[in-house]
Symmetry: C2
Subunit: 203 residues, 2 copies
DNA sequence: TGATTTATGTAGTGGTCATTACATAAACAA
DNA sequence: TTGTTTATGTAATGACCACTACATAAATCA
């Protein structure tokens, strides 16, 4: 059956994407409903009828971010031929994504509510969960590399995963501070320089 | 000549320290004047008479933070016998300072206003300047190490400094997310593992 | 046509924000 | 004492916050 009442006068996906960019650049608390409705091209009642409220809109924006912006960074971790290639791709894709020009610099998951003390604790918790999920993803990939013989059994997969994900978080700060793509690529190269030392048996 | 009118009824330094901890844990925008005055044990007019306003109070709090909390991390960069020892100390002192228990986790300079889009641009600019000053400090120390023969002339001091300061920024996110001191120490060790590769002539 | 359903625009709601006017209190100077 | 200076507490300011009541518009259904 087709839709009943008056049809929506705007594109839900477009509006959500606009909201995402506001949250991405300004953070959750600093993004006011006036900012959001202006960017989305709608009035507050339409926002509430369509998305429920500021918090649920943000949660949807996070999902959209992970699906569209984050995928280019993390999607190849499982499929990359080696753990080394996987992590190298994560860091270089990060350098590229964080300096794209058309979108805000740095990662929304890292920058949107880093204080963990905002008015809305559910927002902080959701972002923290996403941050930690990326670390777990790397750690699983490293463990698989141990099983497959790429890395020695003595490798500290937890420490290595934490190390690379920490650097990736720091790249958000650098990007927001204006670091160029070349600068971020050089940082990624420096981080990869520790690979052999981290994955040798002497560790 | 002694003070003229009615003497202040509270300790200026103590109040400033309390304000600093509020900004540190909640960030600039999320720290309301009600939060600040409650923590400082004074009323708003005393805050304004003594510190000028929220922004100037914050700027003073930043100076206090750099002088007291940040000094343990960065003060030995110049005096350390080698650049390697300097950076190793920075990372391990960071792991210790960010998990002290009595103070908020992570770095105020990184976490207090990372969006760079808040209502007050002077606050963002001041924090950014402090972040970049740390990178410059490391870079100068590395250049000195080249001059002194500790590092080869081919070393990319800018890249190495950016790399370590980026990791140090990421440690603020990890600390705020609850990473233990041991976890941060392990991350620091991983970062130091790249030292030989970064400073060999093959780079 | 008229009834129903959904979306929209206007115009508010109470609450919190940073900031301050004003009267009073507590010190010193004359 | 009386005046001067600085600090304090109460209470208010207008601005902005997230959110919503309500009347109206635009579609389908009977």
């Amino acid at each position: 059956m087709p839709q009943r009442g008056r049809p929506r006068g705007f594109d839900r996906e477009e509006a959500l994407r606009s909201a995402m960019e506001v949250f991405w650049s300004q953070g959750y608390d600093n993004a006011s409903l006036a900012d959001l409705t202006r960017a989305m091209g709608i009035n507050a009642p339409s926002l509430y009828a369509t998305f429920g409220g500021k918090e649920t809109l943000f949660q949807e924006a996070v999902k959209l971010y992970v699906r569209t912006e984050g995928s280019g960074i993390w999607e190849q971790v499982e499929t990359a031929p080696t753990a080394r290639a996987a992590i190298k791709h994560v860091l270089h894709a990060t350098a590229e994504a964080f300096t794209r020009g058309a979108t805000p610099r740095g990662c929304m998951i890292v920058l949107a509510a880093p204080q963990m003390q905002g008015a809305n604790s559910q927002v902080c918790d959701a972002l923290k969960a996403h941050r930690q999920a990326n670390g777990c993803l790397l750690e699983r990939r490293l463990r698989r590399a141990v099983e497959e013989g790429e890395l020695p059994a003595s490798s500290d997969c937890t420490a290595i995963a934490n190390y690379y994900v920490t650097l990736q978080h720091g790249m958000s700060i650098q990007a927001r501070d204006g670091a160029s793509r070349e600068t971020l690529q050089a940082i990624a190269d420096c981080a990869m320089a520790s690979w052999n030392a981290l994955t040798s048996c002497s560790a």
